[in-house]
């Protein structure tokens, strides 16, 4: 069932399957406001990501999806509202402390370092229980071949793989992906979908921003629709599929 959001949209616990089952949410945003200078981008935004689920955040260009992820990472400051991770209040923590709590970020621009080799990208974080290099190179054979190459020498698809692989070296409990399929050839999109599918099967919790609606609908357990800085709808992908009005108004499809 989908839930249309009006006025103060959260908490609406009954609509959240995890809450109903008593699962604590891994990440919870509670009426969060965020700004760029004076422009009010996120308005009373509330959402939850339950442990072990994949949540997709959808919306048109400029809806505020990237800003939401940057707010979670502490890159854009929370001006009002609270943010909780695994029950602890993380509002206002600096980015590196949020990352160390177990939130890994694959940004929209992929965040590949021009002057570092593939190998250096994968050893930079240095988190003891992160994916070991052997396992990374097994899961991403392209990266193993290119371990000595620098960031600038990689194709877009390879950069995206590297960005995801690097996130896994952090031993994340929550993986945040911002449009991982953007601008990539269909074969590479399929590869990324396969990787995301495997991570999901392993029980990794993910928060995914996508413009590629079929990709998101395929992998997500739960969808939030963002429009003009507010949550406009949330529910199961199947329910969104059936709701032509929400799709038309807030996603333009």
């Amino acid at each position: 069932m989908g839930t249309r959001e009006q006025g103060a949209p959260w908490p609406r616990q009954a609509a959240s399957p995890g809450a109903a089952a008593g699962t604590p949410s891994l990440l919870a945003l509670d009426a969060v406001d965020a700004f760029y200078d004076r422009s009010h981008v996120l308005q009373a935004l509330s959402m939850e990501v339950e442990s072990g689920t994949v949540v997709a955040l959808l919306g048109r260009n400029g809806a505020g999806k990237t800003t939401t992820l940057k707010t979670v990472m502490g890159i854009v400051p929370v001006r009002a509202g609270r943010m909780r991770f695994d029950g602890a209040d993380v509002t206002g923590l600096p980015t590196h402390r949020i990352a160390r709590l177990g939130i890994a970020y694959v940004p929209e621009d992929r965040g590949i370092f021009a002057s570092l080799t593939v190998h250096e990208h994968l050893t930079l974080a240095n988190v003891p229980d992160g994916w070991p290099l052997g396992r990374i190179y097994e899961a991403f054979p392209r990266l193993a071949e290119r371990r000595g190459h620098r960031g600038t020498q990689l194709s877009g698809g390879e950069q995206q793989m590297l960005s995801i692989a690097r996130a896994l070296t952090l031993a994340p409990r929550l993986l945040i992906l911002d449009e991982p399929t953007e601008g990539l050839a269909p074969v590479i999109v399929e590869e990324i979908a396969a990787i995301a599918g495997r991570l999901k099967a392993e029980g990794l919790t993910m928060l995914l921003v996508e413009q590629n609606y079929p990709f998101a609908a395929r992998i997500a357990d739960r969808v939030y629709v963002l429009g003009k800085g507010r949550i406009r709808w949330h529910g199961a992908p199947a329910a969104l599929d059936a709701d032509e009005e929400v799709k038309h108004t807030w996603l333009g499809i």
Partner: protein, 292 residues
Amino acid sequence: MLLEPGFLIVQTLNGLQLSMLLFLLSIGLSVVFGMMNFINLAHGTLYMVGAYLALSTVRWFDSFWVALALAPLGVALIGALFYAVLLRHMQRQSPMRQVLVTFGLIFVGFDAVRMVWGVLPHTIPVPETLAGRVYVLGEVYPAYRLFIIAIGLAVLAALYAGLERTRLGAVVRAGVDDRTMVAALGIDVERAFFLVFCLGCWLAGLAGVVSAPVFSIFPGMDMSILILTLIVVVVGGPGSLKGAVIGSLVIGMVDTYGQVVAPEFARVTIYALMAAVLLVRPHGLFPVRRTH
């Protein structure tokens, strides 16, 4: 006279010596700017303080080598203190504020050395082991000046190894490329930056110590070298070791040859060169590359 080999050899060595001093000064400034967009105009002051600390150390211990070991450490300590008390809070401020505050520090430094060491110029003797002259390609050249070149080359080699082969080096390079992403990997960029800042101060102090036996030590000795250093950073492109090396060589050579060939045009030539580089390559000869 100009094309006489002896003249060319001596002037090239002089140019190399100035280049190495400029390199010691510019690399710290450049990497700090590349990582945090933070410009410390008082960097030349640290060079001057290094020379004065060398002066006092030589007076107390009667040894240049003790000064070489201690004075740069003293400068690094002063840098660390300033960072903790003042500069740390300046990072989120506008560039204009940073410029004003660190510009103010130049005058604070000027008055401080005047009060402690007086206004009269000082010199320290060249260490005995390096007081002689050596033959380079048939030309007589002071051994100590070759020592300055050797120190510069040794620092260059050590920094290259540190930047390319260690994890802290990788963090620094990554920080120059995209510091938000480094933080998103759980790394405290500010702590890495602090270490780099202190290393930059240490190198500025080192430059002050090694130039003390060659140049005279006086309040304000930092100004002309600060300007050349800033030009090196701009020409080379902030944040890159390669940029600092090439920028130092270009500016060191042009300034040295300019001073002997046409002294009245030497500085103008440097400024014209900087303007020309910026016209063709607005981000310097070796700009920080972006993958996105």
